[in-house]
Point group: C2
Chain length 351, copies 2
Amino acid sequence: MTVGELYGKLKDKSKWFFMERDIERIFSALRSSGDFWEVLDRSEVPVLLVSWLVGEFEREGLVEVVEEEVRLTEEGRRFCEENRIPEHRRLECPWCRGKAVHVEAYMKVLREFKRLVSERPKPLRQYDQGFVTEESTIARVVLMAARGDLEGKKVLVLGDDDLVGLALALTGAPGEVVVLDIDDRLLDFIENKAREVGFHGLEVRRADFRDPLSEDLVGRFDVFLTDPSESLPALRAFIGRGVVGLKGIGGAGYFGLTRAESSLWKWRELEKILVQDFGMAITDIIHDFNAYLGWGYEREMKAWNYLPVKSEPKGIWYRSCWFRIERVEETHLENAPIEGEIVEDDEMATA
Amino acid sequence: MTVGELYGKLKDKSKWFFMERDIERIFSALRSSGDFWEVLDRSEVPVLLVSWLVGEFEREGLVEVVEEEVRLTEEGRRFCEENRIPEHRRLECPWCRGKAVHVEAYMKVLREFKRLVSERPKPLRQYDQGFVTEESTIARVVLMAARGDLEGKKVLVLGDDDLVGLALALTGAPGEVVVLDIDDRLLDFIENKAREVGFHGLEVRRADFRDPLSEDLVGRFDVFLTDPSESLPALRAFIGRGVVGLKGIGGAGYFGLTRAESSLWKWRELEKILVQDFGMAITDIIHDFNAYLGWGYEREMKAWNYLPVKSEPKGIWYRSCWFRIERVEETHLENAPIEGEIVEDDEMATA
């Protein structure tokens, strides 16, 4: 059987956007691991689609679930060989783990950050929270320094379970940091710790990104960061509020986007919005820059029911790519309220 | 004086797209080095614009040219401090030099490649040639392996002074490699060396990218690579021919784009074309992935007359960011001939 034939059998049954390449990507991941969470991570195909497809592959006799592992059958291995699907290899730089920046240049900040965040609030499913490793947070700050987005800059953080605001405070470098979040526990934590380390340019405010950005924050910042829920309406809302907060041309933004909850179809739709509507150039997309720690509510997330294997993840399995964008044209931006629930779409798995 | 005030003085005199940020970027680079080529490299502002601006800064008493060096004056240093413009820091990972991939995983290929290319043809100005370090070429191959774009794949290389075709041949991994170039010297070299290493899946053909892609190559490939001249018409032509060569959805492309010859305005225009017209999602943009060796015709290039310092570069000063794109929608593509000269625009400096 060719990949094209298998795709032909399945494509009309899928409720998700899906391409032949996704079949290749999943089999390539399956050749490299039997741990389903690792397969999810390596395949770079949306979680719900992988879960459904692995069930279909099982029906086709290409994979089998044995003792909490998803394994290729004899026929599955033949399928890979006939279609020249190689074993997945990550091949990221072993030093920076593909982050491309030199986190060790901020080793003191990293060490201090690790000490400070040990009592951080636990992630809440209600707010689609789930935070990244301390190295990921500090790498964001290092990237900002490398791109001239740190020293003396006014920085807006929209949603901060990753505690970037606190990391920024630790560097002492920004001119101003404003952290917006819906969760008072986080805001209190960040405010207290920033005061503890003696940074006085940080302000926290409770905000819901369905509401317009507060008037006094509009057009005030050089840089924003956000790590949105990945429905298109939420991406547009979070990133859009950030762009509204920028001073204008030359203003920069950073945000994360996964392959686990966003197909490349969604990537492209978002990129159209960024480039066309928001007037931004995309300057960097760093693959798997952010590594997320388990958030402790895996069993409650939407994807759990779809998983072919009901074991808890053993390590990091959820990563996001990190975008940098920079404003090139003063396009017209909306700062209007958004009605209804925005953190839902067919590809979202963790909410 | 603020950056905004200086910008106000200069913006109407410039014939290039130019933003306040560019002034910051140049001063940040000037704080870190007096070598003009290093300033060009670090500022990430188009070469011709930097050259012109440095002249204007000199008139303003902010910089001075002394003994082949561009230095900040006392007033220039004060300008940086008052505007909180920090010294530029590259902060790339010292191991992979910001490439994010593990080139050492292909050490044998790299070593063999270095041996083979020692007799490569010299770059010709007539074709806007200028090649990257061997590490950059092999890093492209490693990235392809990591993204599932190598093993068993049909690969089209459009223009190959970087000898990617030969590097691909050395891995033995692709199903097929077709190299197109206008320069017979390169084609002969690649063909002979590929035969020497025993790879028989490589074909070379003379081609001019102003002509349509040959019919038998249309819709045939899984992956393409190109490193175009950076006028928008040339970018559209080179990358467009590559996309026309792809099988369709799931097909991937790679290409380089600099800040030295392309403002972020041009970046955005190109990104609109990629996303909108070509139906691609941009999956990776790896900053300064490609490092170019001096091409030996610096004195003949367009920028030379504009340079405030007429010394030859001492090291690598010209880099490009490396894009990966993947086809998501079968948009309508043109494969029509293009009339006239396409490798010229106001930002281009090296042709």
